[in-house]
């Protein structure tokens, strides 16, 4: 389980600290929502979902 925890941590670290400015969509908006915020909240949700799947069972 420790390996999975470390892998998830590294994934989250990359997702959370991606230089969004360098992406073409970084400054735009999607469905009326700023893409940077949309990306951050989606990445955050994904990480939480994976953490839930990893840790839900005792």
């Amino acid at each position: 389980m420790k390996e999975k925890a470390l892998a998830l941590f590294l994934l989250a670290l990359v997702l959370f600290t991606l230089p969004l400015e360098l992406f073409s969509w970084g400054g735009r908006s999607l469905w009326g929502i700023p893409a940077a915020y949309l990306y951050l909240f989606l990445a955050w949700s994904l990480v939480i979902l994976l953490a839930y799947r990893l840790y839900r069972r005792p």
Binding site: A12, G26, A36, F41, R56
Partner: protein, 837 residues
């Protein structure tokens, strides 16, 4: 809104907190100690600075409010490495703070007190910020302007009372406080629900702010990701900084480690708490954008309150006030408690011990809570709107992050030394003061503005070494923690670890009495029970962990000096390892020796077997030969008799006598071989009362013809003895020995039978050449013949005597003839209880 009504509302809310805590200590204890309460109590991380400040930050700098919550998410993902390990240590050593850990890891010294002092200095402004948030929100809703501190003072006092009541009931702070935890978890619920409610309410009334904001050039920068290298560096730094703060903030250590009742609670918390943070951040940006749009001149930190008012809903504003208060109070309660434990255990208790006033430590801890609260209030009144207060949240985070190098290196790197940790901490603290704390004071006007320029362009407080473009927090964080880490690693690499602390041991009685004096009679009883089965040094370690939790590690060590003595130097783990290796090597050598011995014995046995096998072959040949000789003779004589019917009567009788003699020899040979096979087959004994004198006479009579034929005189000295034995076997032994004697004797064979104490002795002597020295060891071995016999006679005699419970031996001396003796036990038969004779 009326100030009085608002104040009563505030009091009502605080009263409900007391009730929740009381419930948590009573019937609600199970809920308070559940995994959900644990996850929600972690949300003490989200303070008024989150509740009001995040919206303010989002409204001024955009997305940079988010990293503050991404950091803790990252750290919680690593709980199997971090919290799991810390919890384990905290349980075994009853740690109450990171300062305790540093003491445990690096030994006694300045680290503990310095950490405690630094954390108090670094976190007081953060506490003041919370009080300010309550006062500010109160004034905003009640429409008042001044004095700002009116409502903050009674609130601070009430919160101090709460922390004292529910956090310091006993001296041992490592005890759980379910009431406190439940109250904190309850407040976490309140602030989350309220912020979602306010966000939902505003969105419901005003709709999405994004279409408008995306058109507004003023708001557009808020919606963009951080720009440039500096922006990205600031973002990454904030993620790291908040992660470290989440790990090292005293209040977080208190709720996540000290109040943890079950390590299994970390599992659900690892996703539940990040989920909580995500939810509480959802409404932040919409509120900030609507605030900027509708309230362009307002204080961004108060948008959460102002927007509902703007929309004509004072009820929702009141709820928002409640949310803000809940966020602030939870933080103030837990942080002040954690700081008071730090102050009392690392700063006050050594002094109290010196003044012989340790008994009043609990009172001093309660006073420290009050002191912390009053100092925070004072700071808030003095600093007011100054930069030194407003920017203090993140500056405090950077202060707390200074513990990270010593703490994390201590957890994961064996090479970290006390000197390294201290050098790192001092270096980090110095740079924190120079790059963050003093500039904050200068911006507030308490230091000359010239300070911000620095004495030299390369020593600019907010741009050391000419660094440009970074915001002060990122700059301060990177340089102070960077220097801290570099010093901690560098100095550790060039200093040696001190000698391991001397082990101590002590009597259970004395230790229990000491625990009782400090922690009370109940603790003494519990200690006696727990330490009953422990060895001296283990009991001392247990007492140290209990005392250390209550009075701080340094004082605990001093107290224990009186009740313990130096233990015989316990081998260090390394020495134990060497010892183990030496022991193993000794065992291996012994094993090798035993193997060698076994090999030698085996090879000897093999040689013996080989010799025996050869002897057996030889004897088989001999037996065949022995059998063949009389058989040939009998056959030849029979053929002569058959072929010569006219032989004289005398000749015929002589031949018949010869035939009879040869047949008798054949018969004896066959008897011996049969006896040998019977013995090998293990036929059981047939004991019966036997007259041994009569038996001896019978044997003598049986060998008489042979003796006469060889011209040997038979002599005997027989005493009448009766015993319980196998008659036939004794007779066989006697015959074998007598035949052997007759075979070697020159003129005389003597048989003696004499009773001893518990046995009867037989002796058969002859006057032959005796047994040569080299053959003595082999006379009783099977198939060892020195006189042309079968080689079975003596072997059979030995086996038979031993089977009858006796002994047999050779007495001869070379040249004086041979003397064989054997004994038989004198046993009384049940039929003849009168005795053997």
């Amino acid at each position: 809104m009326s100030a009085l009504a608002l104040f009563l509302f505030l009091l009502l809310y605080l009263a409900s907190l007391f009730l929740v805590a009381l419930w948590g200590e009573g019937r609600g204890r199970t809920l308070a100690q559940s995994g959900h309460a644990y996850a929600f109590s972690l949300a003490v991380y989200a303070t008024a600075w989150t509740f009001f400040g995040s919206v303010g930050r989002a409204a001024t700098t955009g997305a940079t409010f988010l990293p503050i919550y991404l950091g803790p998410t990252l750290v919680l993902l690593l709980w199997p490495f971090l919290h799991g390990r810390i919890l384990q240590l905290a349980r075994s050593h009853r740690l109450t703070s990171w300062a305790d850990f540093l003491f445990l890891r690096y030994g006694p010294g300045l680290l503990g007190p310095i950490t405690a002092l630094f954390l108090v200095v670094g976190l007081l402004p953060y506490l003041a910020l919370q009080l300010k948030a309550i006062a500010q929100a109160f004034l905003f809703l009640s429409g008042g302007r001044a004095p700002l501190g009116d409502v903050a003072l009674p609130t601070a006092l009430l919160l101090a009372l709460f922390a004292i009541l529910f956090g310091t009931r006993h001296l041992d702070p490592s005890e759980r406080h379910p009431g406190l935890v439940l109250a904190v978890a309850f407040e976490s619920w309140v602030k989350l629900l309220v912020l979602l409610l306010v966000g939902g309410f505003v969105l419901w009334h005003l709709g999405s702010p994004f279409p408008r904001a995306l058109q507004d050039p003023d708001l557009l920068p808020l919606l963009r990701p951080p720009e440039g290298l500096a922006g990205h560096l600031a973002w990454v730094s904030l993620v790291l900084l908040s992660g470290l703060a989440f790990l090292f903030l005293p209040r977080q250590f208190h709720v996540s480690v000290v109040e943890n009742t079950d390590p299994g609670h970390l599992r659900p918390a690892a996703w539940l708490f990040p989920f909580y943070l995500l939810l509480i951040n959802l409404p932040v940006l919409p509120l900030a954008l609507w605030g900027r749009t509708l309230l362009p001149g307002g204080n961004p930190d108060l948008y959460v309150l102002a927007l509902p008012l703007e929309l004509g809903s004072p009820g929702v504003a009141l709820l928002a006030f409640l949310g803000g208060v809940s966020a602030a109070t939870a933080m103030v309660i837990v942080e002040s408690l954690a700081l008071s434990i730090l102050i009392s255990n690392h700063l006050l208790s050594p002094l109290l011990l010196r003044w012989k006033a340790l008994g009043s430590l609990l009172l001093w801890r309660r006073l420290s809570i009050l002191l912390v609260m009053l100092l925070s209030y004072l700071y808030f009144r003095l600093a007011g709107e100054a930069y030194a207060l407003v920017a203090m949240g993140l500056i405090s985070f950077v202060a707390v992050a200074q513990l990270a190098p010593a703490g994390l290196l201590g957890l994961f790197w064996k090479g970290a030394t006390p000197q390294g940790a201290l050098a790192g901490l001092l270096g980090g603290m110095a740079l924190w003061t120079y790059t963050l704390f003093l500039p904050a004071l200068a911006r507030s006007g308490w230091l000359p503005q010239g300070f911000l320029e620095g004495p030299h362009p390369l020593l600019h407080p907010e741009g050391l070494l000419g660094l440009q473009g970074l915001d002060p927090i990122t700059h301060g964080f990177l340089v102070s923690v960077g220097l801290n880490l570099a010093l901690a690693v560098g100095v550790s690499l060039f200093t040696r670890k001190g000698p391991a602390p001397e082990g101590r041991t002590g009597e259970l009685g004395e230790l229990a009495a000491l625990v009782g004096r400090v922690l009370g009679p109940e603790a003494e009883k519990a200690f006696r029970e727990e330490a009953q089965t422990l060895s001296g040094p283990q009991a001392v370690a247990l007492a140290e962990s209990w005392l250390s939790a209550a009075v701080g590690p340094a004082t605990a060590r001093l107290l224990l000096l009186s009740a313990t003595r130096e233990a015989p130097a316990a081998p260090s783990p390394f020495e134990a390892l060497l010892e183990e290796a030496a022991r193993e090597s000794r065992e291996v050598r012994a094993y090798a020796r035993a193997l060698e011995e076994a090999k030698r014995e085996l090879s000897e046995a093999y040689e013996r077997l080989k010799a025996l096998d050869q002897a057996k072959d030889e004897i088989l040949a001999a037996v065949s030969h022995e059998l063949k000789t009389p058989l040939t003779a009998v056959r030849a004589l029979a053929e002569i008799l058959e072929a010569n019917p006219d032989l004289s009567e005398e000749e015929r009788r002589r031949f018949t006598a010869l035939m009879a003699k040869e047949a008798a020899r054949l018969s004896r040979l066959v008897e011996e071989v049969l006896a040998y096979t019977r013995l090998q087959a293990g036929v059981p004994l047939a004991r019966s009362p036997t007259d041994l004198k009569a038996l001896a006479e019978e044997a003598l009579a049986l060998v008489e013809p042979l003796a006469r034929e060889r011209g040997i005189t038979m002599e005997s000295q027989l005493v009448g003895v009766q015993t319980l034995t196998d008659r036939d076997r004794v007779l066989q032994v006697l015959l074998n020995l007598l035949h052997n004697a007759l075979r070697h004797a020159r003129s005389r064979v003597r048989l003696e039978v004499a009773p001893g104490n518990h046995e009867v002795l037989f002796r058969i002597q002859d006057d032959g050449p005796g047994v040569p020295q080299e053959a003595k060891a082999l006379v009783f071995e099977p198939f060892q013949s020195f006189s042309g016999g079968t080689g079975l006679g003596l072997f059979l005699a030995k086996r038979l005597v031993e089977g009858l419970g006796g002994r047999i031996w050779l007495e001869s001396r070379e040249g004086n003839g041979a003397s064989f003796a054997f004994t038989l036990p004198l046993e009384v038969s049940h039929e003849n209880p009168g005795g053997g004779r």
